[in-house]
Amino acid sequence: MRNITIAMIALLCVQFTWGQMISGNVTDSSGEPLPGVSIIVSGTTKGTTTNFDGEYSIEATSGDILEFTYLGMLAQQVEVANQTSVNVVMQEDSEQLDEVIVTAFGISQEKKALGYAAQSIDAEAITQTKQTNIVNALQGQVAGVQITNSGGAPGQSARIIIRGINSLDPSADNQPLFVVDGVPIDNSTVEAGVNDNGNTPRGLSNRASDINPNDIESMSVLKGAAATALYGVRAANGAVIITTKKGAAGQVKINLNTSVGFEELNRLPKLQKEYGQGFSGEYDPSSFWPSWGAPIAEIAQDVPGHKYQDNWNRAFDTGIQTDHSISVSGGSENATFYGSFGRFDQKGIIPFSDWARTSAKISGTLKLNEKFDFSGSINYTNSGGNRVPHDRFMERMMYWAETQDVRDYINPDGTMKTYSNTNPIYDARFSTYKDDVNRVIGNLNFNYSPWEWMTLSYRLGTDFYTDMRTEITPGPKGIDNEVALSSTGFIEETRINSKDITSNFYITLKKDWNDDFNTTLRLGNDIFQRKFDRVFLRGENYVIPDFFNVNNTRQIFTGQAKSIRRLVGFYGDLMVNYKDFLYLNLTGRNDISSTLPKDNNSFFYPSVNLGYVFTENFETPSWFTFGKLRASWAQVGKDTNPHILGATFVSDDIFPLNGQVGFSRNSEFGDPELKPELTTSVEFGTQLSFLDSRLDLDVTYYKSNAEDQIIPVPISDGTGFSSYITNAGEIENSGFEVVLSGDIIKKSDFQWTATANLSMNNNEIKSIREGIDEIVIGSQFGYAGSTVTMKLIKGDAYGNLYGTSYERFGADENAVSLNNGLPTVIGDNGFPLTNSNQLILGNAVPKWIGGLRNMFSYKNLELSFLVDFRADVEQYNQFDNFLSAFGKNEYTLTRNDFKVFDGVLADGSPNTQEVWLGQGVGPDGVDYGAGFWRNYYRGVSENFVQDASYVKLRNISLAYTFGDRVLDRIPFKSMRVSLAANNIILYSPWDGFDPESFSAGAGGNAVGFTGLGFPGTQSYFLTFNFGL
């Protein structure tokens, strides 16, 4: 009843007869024959399907209506006149993809039957974004889904959060489960730095980036517990269901894709260019202080070559990426295949950063007979690159004098060229960290239907990777007066082995009780195991300089961390369909986890959801095409990490010393009475469609309560432990999601469609375990007491940032939040006073996120763009803190000014005292020491917790598809060229690099801290697609 659009009818006039045989062929818009199209004579039971060549024949009578339907195509109706041949060209229906949605276990379901919200995006929307990481490709496209790029490093992780943070655990992986063709894959991010030595972030990849986006047919996002109930604990944060491309019956298709892109920094903080190296306004060419010296122009008169070097623009390269892929697919009615090969290369904007991915995939399906079919796929990926110490790079950029050329970093003998400080580019070049991942993801699917009402299905998946990492920092070369990166140098070899096995067996029983009432029951068993082993070997202090082998070092350290996690689940799923307007779905699952105490490790959780298509139940006006109400209630349990229970003893990697090995009690203690977490969620929603689906609206309200949260609570070291893992609290997330889409213009040669999504999330810490007042989620250093901390306190929202502020006159002593409407209190010396009490200065979880996608097509030309935004969000701008401490921001230009600070004295009278902002003895004879910015400004967190909203042009792309006139002259069946640009900041009040970047990587929850991470980039692409 939806999408009844007749696109094209080929009519041939033939003599009128009764009961004539109609025959013809069905093709897609490119002229490819379509096998398996179903054709029925409307109002009868007569029907047939097209054969392998897209041909059919059917008996019909003049006046009959033939209905042609095919998954993913617009249905067509053709009235039979007196012809004998009806040829039909089916048109692809992008909306139709919305109609059928891939849900848990890869089960395709009609969206209208779902009692919960789910959203899907197709291949084009994915590849158009030109994102190498499939997580990024979802950005701005799906309501309620927040994607955060951790930074612009090649291959760097991106974080995905669905419907807010569900866990209070600062290190918890709140990310959804990634499922490829029915089998979960590993999407963890294993950052550098578990050992003392390698504690600088290196911007490693989340493992989903091993998937080549060109292989993906569609991604659906299952948001709530109701949608993911069948996946159990692993999908407690939602699931991203990826369906890869498959071969289709018909001619062999070959697709070639090649793309080249460039990237550059998308934003810089506002910087001053007037003052150079030194302190107290005095020029000093060897000073540690980069910008507290004399005016550059003044010194330049005496010192040749002394100038502002514009290092912040010159230190970064133009990043380059190339992406090539080829795929071959085809098959017959009973067997299909798909094979692909891809190679991606990227050089980042920080010099010497790079990443590459080579992927190969082969998949096939085989239908042995009506009862048995079988499919499988194997995907091999090799990925990795050189991960520069981006945090340290940016930190060293902070310290680097603006009057010294940062690009002039190396002496002819290979030592660092510097005036004193470590050169960031030299460090990036020689402090290498390379990862080399070899990964195989494979799955096998069997379906056996002994009877029509019963299917036995078995899925077996493996996800196995080795990650070989080598970190090298050279020591001194033994050359006089060299500045070495390290006094000893070291080499660390890390070997990670991770192996996931998933086994899933289920029985599907279908029964049509009568015309109105049918049911589907699934019963199954799911087993998951992950074995992880990380071994490192570190050698320090090279004997022969620059010979990088562990055998060439004087001190050797080793360590091992291994883990095993097993899960066994039993589940049942009952779907009831009443008259195609009432859909009821009940599920129940019991998980048993190896990670919980034996008495608490088995837990059951049910779900129920109901979909009511009221437009099928009673008459609605013709413009009201479709309407559904849905409601769900669901619970999902969650286990914890392996091997955390109880107290253990650890031995530091310095041992053995003189043959003796020391032990210390581990500072982490896991509650031996730990229970599984339980999340209960309710969801109400409606899906409405008007004017023959020209306008679609989907609105969802959700609320989820995650109880008994398992959290490593940081506790006073005085307790004997520093971290206590326990069931510590409850968090509530609630919000709205709205998706509105419209076919605004729908003419034969001009189309305009737009989709907008908007979500609002509220969260609240409902309770924290007795005895714990607050939980520290994370904190980041700020100078002189301006460290900002994210804390959880009962009744507050998740993501509140605490820090110091200026003292406010008349502020409530018990207030927990800063009231910046009150006047600042000025001290006796004329400078503002600092309030060292920790007050709430902002919240790091965006309240509003959304995106708007527009697609225009005019003849062969397509233009699409995606704008996304986030609003009502604050972050700690650590860059700004450092810049102010080192006199680099534009606002420190006022350093030689006098100022009367706005505010009141302790007695409430207005401040009138004039003070000098500079360093040392001012013109007024007063000694101001290190000056305002260092003595006061940098030590107040309030100055650096800033509005981090943005509006971004996430992607814009212009594509041209060549027509037959060109194609006739070249050996390709299809050809398309496109230009795209990504991640352009349209608006942000933020003074700094891309506000989206943060240093912690995708693994944790401590967002809201920019750190000194890899800055965000904008990029441009040119892409060609060829079909053979």
Binding site: F279, S280, D284, S286, F288, W289, S420, N481, E482, A484, S486, S487, T488, R554, Q560, A561, S563, R566, S593, S594, T595, N601, H643, G646, T648, F649, S651, I654, F655, L657, N658, G659, Q660, G662, F663, S664, S667, V713, P714, I715, S716, D717, G718, T719, G720, F721, Y724, G771, I772, D773, E774, V776, S779, A784, G785, Q838, G929, A930, R934, N935
Partner: protein
């Protein structure tokens, strides 16, 4: 009937098999990386190592306050007495104290009296170091995880605890034991007499801190001195390892590679090079490095190195001297320190004893550094040093103790008791404005503790004094 019974039975057995198989399949959660228990020997090894390291960690903080060291950069927070959050040092103190509490309990259970006693002595050492820099600390609700927010015990009450540990430690070391310390004892390789002397020496250290309080008992202190170290042979020190080098050596090595640190304060250089006093101290070239021109030039605290280059123009710690060899010891407590304590304690009641102890303290330190005997004799013969019992003042004790305790955290305790009255000592440049022109009196509580246990953390400023630091 029978058949269905059998079916039921088979089904039941099958179910049990499946479930029990499931049980063992899921029984894989025992930690494969860290053992559930550790031997007392292993705890002792780590505790001694970490205790010595803690002496370095605290010394690293305090050496700039007492102007042994100075930052090469101007306005460095370590020099200017800014509030610096010492999360790591706090954690390390509690981490080793936790291990010691575990060790004491286990040793008591096993009847290993010597392990118990040695652990009690180390407990006193670490708790004492903590209280002397932080003041009130969690103790009575600490270590055994009774609460997640332990209350703070007053610094004064903790001193009683410290002295109790030492008394109990001495008693246990003198008593029987089921197992003996040996190679697992990095301090004394099982020499119990030296452990006992170490305990008495620590007693003397903590008793002299309260000299200005009514509870002070000079006789008891001198009794502890008599039972303390008799020579440098018994010094409590941990010699470092090829695998884990002396941390001061690491600082010197880093500095040589231009990762700057370990720069010597002008105050220290001038006190030894004949500027502040006319006598040139022969120890100076054995303790710090010279400039490229062979001179000894210090750096003014808080002022930075000015126009001096990173290398060759200022005195710094250099590798392979007494304090800075890769396997050099970190000194926990020495005979020389004990002699200066004795001098201070005897000063009022028995000045001749005090004077002799003062001279012995200097000699002991010089012998430790292997100063040539003729240089020792010459230095001790200088009228500025051996001024005679009559002219001998408490200032002389503090000055010489300050030299002999180079880099040791105990000096900051002395400096505060002595109100930083060292000859020519001045406030650092760019002093933290909140100190109102005064010297720092304590460390702030670390950020971690403020955020995790805020309700109990006492509200203090850097000018609030530890209980023994009487105005």
């Amino acid at each position: 009937m029978k058949i269905s019974d059998n079916i039921k039975r088979i089904f039941a057995i099958g179910l049990i098999l499946v479930l029990s198989a499931c049980d063992s399949y899921l029984d894989v959660n025992e930690n494969p990386n860290n053992p559930q228990d550790a031997p007392i020997s292993g705890l002792m090894i780590n505790s001694v190592y970490e205790s010595a390291y803690n002496v370095f960690r605290v010394g690293d903080i305090t050496s700039n306050y007492v102007q042994y060291l100075a930052s090469p950069n101007p306005a460095s927070s370590s020099d200017t007495m800014d509030p610096v959050s010492n999360n790591t040092t706090w954690f390390r103190l509690y981490n080793v104290m936790t291990d010691l509490v575990v060790l004491i309990d286990k040793a008591e259970e096993q009847g290993a009296g010597h392990y118990q006693g040695a652990a009690q002595v180390l407990m006193a050492l670490n708790l004492g170091m903590g209280v002397d820099i932080f003041g009130d600390m969690p103790y009575s609700e600490g270590f055994n995880f009774e609460t997640v927010t332990p209350v703070y015990d007053s610094d004064e009450s903790l001193y009683t605890v410290i002295l109790n540990y030492l008394d109990q430690g001495i008693a246990n070391l003198q008593g029987p034991t089921t197992s003996s310390l040996g190679d697992d004892d990095f301090l004394y390789a099982g020499d119990i007499d030296k452990w006992i002397a170490f305990a008495y020496t620590l007693k003397a250290r903590y008793m002299v801190h309260v000299k200005d309080l009514p509870s002070y008992d000079a006789d008891e202190l001198l009794n502890a001195v008599d039972n303390g170290f008799a020579s440098n042979d018994a010094n409590a020190q941990l010699s470092f390892f090829e695998q884990s080098i002396n941390p001061w050596s690491d600082v010197a090595r880093d500095n040589a590679n231009l990762v700057l640190g370990g720069w010597i304060s002008e105050q220290f250089i001038e006190a030894l090079d004949g500027t502040t006093y006319t006598t040139v101290d022969p120890r100076l070239p054995l303790m710090v490095g010279a400039t490229d021109d062979g001179e000894y030039i210090g750096t003014v605290n808080g002022a930075g190195r000015g126009n001096a280059p990173e290398q060759g123009a200022r005195s710094t710690l250099i590798e392979d001297q007494y304090y800075t060899g890769q396997t050099s010891p970190v000194l926990i407590s020495t005979f020389s320190e004990l002699k200066f304590i004795e001098a201070e304690a005897a000063f009022e009641g028995d000045k001749p004893r005090a004077y002799q102890a003062y001279l012995d303290g200097i000699a002991a330190h010089m012998q430790m550094l292997e100063v040539a005997q003729e240089d020792i004799d010459a230095y001790l013969a200088s009228p500025e040093v051996s001024m005679g019992e009559g002219a001998f003042t408490i200032d002389d004790i503090f000055k010489e103790k300050w030299v002999a305790m180079f880099l040791h955290p105990e000096t900051w305790n002395d400096a505060r008791r002595y109100d930083y009255q060292y000859e020519n000592m001045t406030l650092p440049a760019n002093l933290n404005p909140d100190l109102n022109g005064q010297y720092i009196r304590r460390l702030p509580y670390p950020d971690n503790e403020v955020s995790r246990n805020g309700g109990n953390v006492p509200s203090v400023t850097l000018l609030d004094r530890i209980f023994w630091d009487v105005e």
